[in-house]
């Protein structure tokens, strides 16, 4: 079931394929993140997967705001714009509207994208400008040295909350769903293959893609996501979402998700419950996406990663192009006609 109209535009497929290696996407700038920062892996995966897209690198633009994460564009050997705090989605929107043929990526942090830039983010999502948005969520302000962010957990002790934060955090995916984002996903800095897969899916999707990437800030918020990324714990705490597949997880693949009314439950795949009783993931189902996004707040539920929702709808910039083409076909504008189009008179 879908609450939003179904795919209207075909997925882009054919490009003249340049042959790149990941090196081609590495700029000549020194990478300046702290040693051990999760940002390195995200950069590496991006550089690794981009050659697969077959987009000429001069047609790619990375736009960011301000924050550690927002240094990202400097390291990609494409066009790039490291802008000001929170405004990357708007700058990228301007680029994309002006030049729909470019592949435009936004890199933002939980502070940059969810705090000061929250409004631009949700408006971009509702408009469905064909931008690829990567939210590096480390649940902290890194660059300003460790204040809590809008995704930091309630009670978090930080420089600006010595007695613990009393801010109920945003759930980024829930907010994106509330803004009717057409593509909503989550991946992990340390799961290199999964991240590459998600980036590729995003690239192929026509519309705004919103990807939350759990990113470890080893200096100010070390280990925030270790239970989802470390070998010992990840299998039991992460639920990999795959379209059309039942929701199974656990080291032994012996646990699953069942629905009781609207309430999801973890069940063991012992005798009483079989795989056939489990919820089956469906990227086209918004209600399911909503339920999955809410796992964060539910004790005992694994954390889903993957594509929560992917439902195409018209993109903003193509709609504009369409209006323009129609108007031009009707009557191509000419300044001389325009300026004389109302009442004019001659004085001799």
């Amino acid at each position: 079931m879908s609450l939003i109209q179904e795919t209207l535009e075909p997925i882009q497929t054919s490009f003249e394929q340049p042959t790149y290696s990941s090196k081609d996407f590495q700029s000549n700038q020194d990478v300046r993140w702290c040693p051990g920062c999760g940002d390195y892996s995200i950069l590496a995966q991006t550089q690794r997967i981009f050659p697969d897209f077959g987009v000429p690198k001069h047609n790619v633009v990375f736009v960011s705001g301000i924050g550690c994460s927002s240094r990202f564009p400097y390291y990609m050997n494409t066009y790039g714009f490291h802008s000001i705090h929170g405004r990357a989605p708007s700058i990228a929107t301007g680029i994309k509207i002006a030049r729909p043929e470019l592949s435009v990526w936004v890199v933002t942090g939980d502070g940059d994208g969810m705090s000061i830039g929250g409004n631009h983010l949700i408006h971009t999502l509702r408009r469905n400008v064909n931008l690829k948005i990567l939210l590096f969520n480390n649940q902290i302000y890194g660059l300003t040295k460790g204040q809590y962010s809008p995704t930091s957990e309630y009670g978090k002790v930080t420089k600006s909350t010595p007695l613990g934060s009393v801010d109920h955090p945003f759930n980024p995916l829930l907010l994106a769903l509330g803004a009717e984002a057409s593509f909503v996903a989550r991946t992990l800095d340390r799961d290199t293959k999964h991240m590459q897969m998600i980036l590729k899916r995003a690239h192929n999707f026509c519309g705004t893609t919103f990807i939350e990437i759990y990113q470890n800030c080893n200096v100010f918020n070390n280990g925030a996501f270790f239970q989802f990324t470390e070998k010992e714990s990840k299998d039991d705490n992460v639920l990999l979402l795959e379209h059309g597949k039942p929701m199974v997880f656990g080291k032994e693949k012996n646990k699953g998700i069942k629905l009781d009314g609207f309430t999801p439950k973890v069940v063991s795949l012992d005798g009483t419950n079989s795989v056939n009783d489990l919820l089956v993931h469906n990227e086209k189902d918004s209600v399911l996406a909503f339920i999955l996004a809410n796992f964060n707040a539910m004790e005992g539920m694994p954390r889903p990663i993957g594509i929560f929702r992917a439902i195409e709808r018209p993109t903003y910039e193509k709609d504009i192009e369409r209006q323009i083409e129609n108007a031009v076909v009707k009557e191509k504008g000419s300044f001389n006609n325009l300026i004389q189009s109302g009442q004019t008179w001659i004085i001799k």
Binding site: T78, G80, F81, R87, A98, R99, F335, I339, I346
Partner: protein, 608 residues
């Protein structure tokens, strides 16, 4: 046959309730008068409320037109005729009427309720308080409904036609033809012919009322002005901005991108441009002013002719992002239609109080080019010039307009595309020797290398840039160098613009310096003084940052410098610290343009 007197110029003010159609009436009178070859200037004046309750003082909407057989630079200091559709309109506008002036009052609306809403204790049409004016009390509503008594219109619909009675009467009184308005009605209401018929009937009834009744004994005629020969149309400042942008886009072959958030009195530029899809104009109504300017910055990076339009509060919000455009050295035109401040202030009134904000309203040393338009039609040339400078020097340019010239209109001997100077754009495509911050020696402009260009991949941003490479640099000397370079680059523009021209002698006792919309009142004041054989010189400044190269020289040749401004003396401050000359400020912050008499009085005082 009634007497026909010749007049050199006339000012009429139509005033009524917001719902009475006064703006429309005024605009019709304007078109017809323009067609007759008069020069003219208009001043629409409407309340901040959309449709305030009928009859209230704050709901009064006015439209003033000043037309003549000579050149006209202002909408008129005082009116010769006041058309008052209700008591509130009379109350609000009476002090703008010249002693002995004419009042046309719609007596039907002077009932107890409306009188009390306008805080009248007695009916001014009857109590003799208007004895110093030529008062014409006409039951316009009644006459309108009589005229339309045989139609199927509802009484509400009929009442809406009464403004055309007043218009018809004015057409009679000032010897104007009805045809242009009739043609306009036929076009405008073509889907509802009953309205066309009704309106024409009422318009004619008004005209005939003047002709037939005994009330009026004289009519007036205002001969065409000796305007430059050419093709004319009427234009408001906001329309002229939109047209100028279309022209700049066509001439530069750059796609036009407008990122904007609606705000009075700038919204009409957005409205105009959003119609021009067939010019491939892309208008983006953003979620706020910050998204408006930043989307434009993105579009500029991508190679568009990027514009953002706003008014004062919006410019305040754009300050941070404007700094980014300064640092990234991208072309951008910011159009600020000034209104009354501070804060929400007087949103529908005019003011010139954003000059200092335009110059200094950003953190750090963040210089931008600032230029100002002086009249409605000058908005066209000024925005065109802004586009030229922005793209040639790779800088943000702020264009200052104001509520008065944005909404005011004048006849315009308009150019065709071939009459305009070229705007040449050279996107960088050559790989060899490319560095994002390697400059053109003459303009200091960095190359405009847009995404999609093979081999020129590069990164820009808001952190300080290393010269030439454009890499991030925290180097002390480099920062100092770049701060001064950005300043120089703006100053360099002075070498690319014409010298300032002075109107009058090159030295003397008194120089009048104006900028922006005060041009008209200043010019009129100077002309009037000359008629009295008082010679003063006049310098109008279009370019404010940088000033033209000879401005300092000119200023220093005068004993006194008078600077009238609709603020507390902002240009004065800038002249003082730039040229170290003393100035005399004439300031007025009443939400209204200067009257030329206010400037004339000051001149008299200074010449004493």
């Amino acid at each position: 046959m009634k007497e026909l007197l010749q007049k050199e110029d006339i000012t009429i003010r139509f005033a009524g309730d917001s719902g009475d159609g006064m703006q429309l009436t005024g605009m019709q009178f304007t078109s017809t008068t323009a067609l007759l070859g008069n020069d003219l200037s208009t001043l629409p004046d409407y309340p901040a409320e959309i449709r305030a309750p009928a009859g209230t003082l704050f709901g009064v909407s006015g439209f003033q037109i000043h037309f003549g057989s000579t050149e006209i630079y202002t909408p008129g200091d005082v009116c010769d005729v006041l058309v008052a559709m209700n008591p509130a309109a009379l109350k609000v506008n009476l002090n703008g009427l010249i002693d002995g002036g004419t009042i046309i009052a719609n007596s039907d609306s002077f009932d107890d309720k409306n009188l009390s809403l306008a805080s009248y204790n007695s009916n001014p049409l009857e109590d003799g308080s208007l004895s110093k004016y030529k008062l014409h009390v006409i039951n316009i509503s009644k006459l309108t409904s009589l005229t339309l008594s045989d139609t199927q219109l509802t009484s509400k619909e009929i009442d809406r036609c009464k403004n055309f009675f007043a218009l018809g009467l004015m057409y009679w009184m000032y010897n104007r033809p009805l045809e242009p308005t009739i043609e306009w009605m036929q076009e405008k209401f073509k889907k509802t012919p009953k309205y066309v018929d009704a309106n024409i009937k009422v318009l004619k009834a008004g005209f005939n009322y003047g002709d037939i009744t005994e009330i009026f004994t004289v009519r007036y005629d205002v001969q065409p002005a000796k305007l430059e020969p050419g093709n004319y149309r009427s234009v408001t400042g906001n329309e002229a901005v939109a047209l100028g942008l279309i022209a700049a886009s066509e001439k530069s072959k750059l796609g036009l991108f407008l990122g904007s958030y609606p705000i009075t009195p700038a919204s009409d530029i957005l409205h105009e441009l959003s119609y021009y899809k067939n010019f491939r104009v892309k208008t983006f109504q953003a979620e706020d002013e910050i998204a408006a300017i930043t989307s434009s910055i993105g579009a500029s990076f991508a190679g568009a002719l990027a514009i953002t339009t706003t008014s004062g509060p919006g410019l305040a919000l754009k300050g941070e992002a404007l700094g980014l455009a300064v640092m990234t050295e991208l072309p951008l035109v910011i159009i600020n239609v000034q209104r009354g401040g501070p804060s929400t202030g007087l949103p529908t009134k005019t003011e010139q109080s954003d000059l200092l904000q335009s110059l200094y309203g950003r953190h750090g040393e963040s210089p931008v080019c600032v230029i100002a338009a002086k009249t409605p039609s000058d908005c066209f040339y000024t925005v065109y010039e802004a586009c030229r400078i922005a793209t040639k020097f790779m800088v943000p340019v702020i264009l200052l307009s104001d509520g008065y010239i944005a909404n005011g209109s004048e006849p315009w001997n308009f150019p065709l595309i071939e009459d305009l100077s070229d705007i040449n754009i050279n996107f960088r495509t050559e790989k060899d020797g490319f560095f994002p911050y390697l400059r053109d020696e003459k303009t200091l402009a960095r190359p405009w290398a847009i995404p999609g260009t093979p081999n020129l991949e590069h990164r820009i941003g808001g952190l300080e840039k290393q010269q030439v490479t454009g890499n991030v640099s925290y180097d002390a000397q480099n920062h100092d160098y770049m701060v001064r370079l950005r300043q120089n680059k703006i100053e360099k523009i002075a070498e690319d613009i014409p010298l300032a021209e002075i109107d009058g002698k090159e030295s003397g006792k008194l120089l009048l310096v104006s900028w922006g919309g005060t041009y008209g009142a200043a010019k009129t004041a100077v002309n009037n003084k000359r008629k009295e054989n008082k010679y003063i010189s006049h310098l109008h400044l279009k370019y404010i940052n940088p000033f033209q190269k000879n401005v300092g020289e000119i200023l220093k040749k005068f004993d006194k410098i008078l600077v009238p401004e609709l603020n507390l003396g902002q240009l004065s401050k800038v002249l003082k610290h730039t040229f170290f000359v003393n100035t005399i400020s004439l300031t007025k912050v009443e939400g209204q343009p200067f009257k030329s008499i206010e400037i004339e009085n000051k001149i008299d005082e200074l010449l004493k």
